[in-house]
Symmetry: C2
Subunit: 90 residues, 2 copies
Amino acid sequence: MISIFVILVYDTAVERNPKVLKTCRKYLHWTQRSVFQGELSTAQYRALMATLNTTIDPEYDSIVTYTARSPDMVESSTLGVALAGPGDIL
Amino acid sequence: MISIFVILVYDTAVERNPKVLKTCRKYLHWTQRSVFQGELSTAQYRALMATLNTTIDPEYDSIVTYTARSPDMVESSTLGVALAGPGDIL
């Protein structure tokens, strides 16, 4: 199965955050306050985006994703507090 | 000159935000509330990280970066409000 590496940053209204977080947690690992990351199949990625699309208010909320064909293509590094690694949640 | 694609997400205390923002803006484009992105040389990337390292309080603040060898390796997409593209700032 082909998987893609996904970084997701959300900026959503407080009242919609619990639903957004719940959806993101279902598919990805929490990285930092407003960031999730993880590996998904393209089908999972589409399902995630479809669910978020019906959850957010597109006039106020914003969700940005970055995808790469492999986690090897992206290096991550942290300054200061390392809030969570993939191992902490899944 | 080799350039790398950088995504930077900050989670810093309010009192340090202005300095963090100023440093990030010097090197990158603002994407969303707490996200910057852009292309940098490795020297610029090191300078950015060195400056941030002296700016943040490593016990309270957190800065996560994702780098890729080329922007072509990373696809970005937005749901809802597209707050800023590279063109809006530089």
